[in-house]
């Protein structure tokens, strides 16, 4: 049973039972469904919830599609191959090569994987019956952001040397000495804490809010349609809004995947090339 279904039951129960509660807005409980299975390993508690399973399904689906697209890859592409290639080219040429620069092509593989992984997981927020994105759980965007953070710091140290990299991060070239009192803490905070945090939060919050929005309009439509008087008119409006927001969500899905990867590419660019 989905968490939204819980809320739906609550809404209908409130209606049918005639309790004074009226409309129950969806809560954060949306994102904490009951675990399907839970176990403890080395003192760490693992909970397999439907969101976990949705992530696995999304990942398996995108992997299957891409492997199928690549398996019979030919010079003259088929439809599936063409779609896969276009996505890969977008990341490879548009980000790895153009944003990171001439040293960027080795990162194409990572960036493209990141892009398709996020895209597939985001997409689950509008897939019927799933209708929640694993990226609306902070843990998953955080994992990706931390991987990116480790990667660009590692690349920065490898390409520029640790001394140079940290010095440039703390004391950006061309900044007047007096301004360093302000700039240095900000820069250090920005490069080592704010960047990964915002990267993770941006994706998480978008998917979180998108889901909440859809749930509110859907539940609202159900509630208003069953309410008496002229309410069903508003219910229809709410239903329409839910549809519109679904399309809007589709835009957000693609946009957030793109933004996440292009920001990663920008950070990697800063790591690969010394600041000037």
């Amino acid at each position: 049973m989905t968490s939204s279904a819980h809320a739906l039951v609550d809404v209908l129960a409130a209606e049918g039972g005639g309790e004074e509660g009226g409309f129950h807005a969806p809560t954060i409980a949306e994102f904490y469904p009951e675990p399907v299975a839970s176990f403890s390993l080395l003192g760490i508690d693992f909970e397999i919830t439907r969101i976990t399973i949705i992530m696995w399904i999304a990942t398996a689906a995108i992997l299957t599609l891409l492997v199928l697209a690549a398996r019979k890859a030919a010079v003259v592409p088929g439809k599936l191959q063409y779609i896969g290639e276009s996505g890969y080219s977008l990341v490879r040429d548009g980000m790895a090569r153009d944003v990171i620069g001439p040293k960027g092509l080795p990162f194409a593989s990572f960036l493209a994987s990141l892009f398709f992984f996020i895209l597939a997981n985001n997409f689950m927020s509008i897939v019927p019956f799933a209708q929640i994105s694993p990226n609306s759980k902070f843990a998953f965007p955080l994992v990706l952001a931390v991987i990116v953070w480790v990667l660009y710091n590692y690349i920065g140290i490898r390409e520029q040397g640790a001394g140079r990299y940290f010095k440039d991060a703390a004391i950006p070239p061309g900044v007047p000495v007096g301004a360093l009192i302000l700039v240095t803490p900000i820069e250090l905070l920005q490069v080592f804490i704010i960047r990964p945090f915002t990267l993770a939060v941006r994706l998480f919050a978008n998917m979180f809010a998108g889901h909440m929005l859809l749930v509110v309009f859907s539940l609202g439509a159900v509630y208003l349609l069953t309410a008496g008087g002229i309410m069903p008119i508003f219910g229809a409006a709410s239903f329409l809004m839910a549809l519109v927001m679904t399309f809007f969500e589709l835009l957000v899905i693609v946009l957030q995947a793109y933004v996440f990867v292009i920001l990663t590419a920008t950070y990697l660019n800063g790591a690969v090339e010394p600041a000037h």
């Binding site: 904490y32 890859a73 896969g84 902070f138 994992v143």
Partner: protein
């Protein structure tokens, strides 16, 4: 109920288990994609680029070959022309040489013919002179005998008067024409002509 438990959770504090699951899932996805998908796409891109570049390259090669053939043809033509000119020059030179030789030969020939003519002429003259010498001597003695009225022949012969006179004449003739061809070479030419 989970709802109650969830109310107290901060969504920005994810459980460790979830983080680990997320990491593993992404790691698997990255591994599969980086291993089986992107390299294939790269391969296809390369193949495509090569197919295009290969076509251009083939065309370029053919053009270069045609150019080379043209150059070779031109070079051969130039060579042939040079050779022809050379042969012509050589022929001209040879012709000139042959002409020279022929001219020299002809001159030599004509010189020889002239020489022989002259020799023959000299020989004939010598012959005539010799003949005349005898006859003149005889006639002169005869005439003198008649004028004197007696035969002076034997006496004249004895004293060699006639010969001496004729020799004197000869000497005068030789003085007039100093090339000395007349008498000196006469005998040899005469012998040659006699042959």
């Amino acid at each position: 109920m989970s709802n109650l438990a969830a109310e107290s959770v901060n969504p920005l504090l994810p459980p460790v288990g979830e983080i680990i699951i997320g990491t593993i899932t992404f790691a698997i996805a990255f591994f599969v994609l980086a291993r089986f998908v992107w390299p294939r796409f790269e391969q296809v891109f390369r193949a495509r680029r090569e197919a295009i570049e290969g076509g251009i390259e083939r065309a370029e090669t053919m053009q270069a070959e045609a150019q080379a053939a043209l150059e070779q043809y031109r070079a051969q033509l130039a060579e042939a022309r040079t050779e022809a000119a050379q042969i012509r020059d050589q022929a001209r030179a040879e012709g000139q040489q042959i002409l020279e030789e022929l001219r020299a030969q002809a001159q030599e020939e004509s010189a020889r013919i002239i020489a022989r003519g002259e020799e023959q002429l000299a020989a004939s003259r010598q012959q005539v002179v010799n003949q005349l010498r005898g006859e003149i001597g005889a006639l002169a003695v005869d005439l003198a005998g008649r004028v004197v009225g007696e035969s002076l022949e034997d006496q004249a012969r004895r004293s060699g008067t006639v010969d001496r006179f004729l020799d004197q004449l000869d000497g005068m003739a030789a003085g007039a024409s100093p090339d000395g061809r007349g008498g000196a070479t006469g005998s040899s030419v005469y012998a040659q002509g006699d042959r």
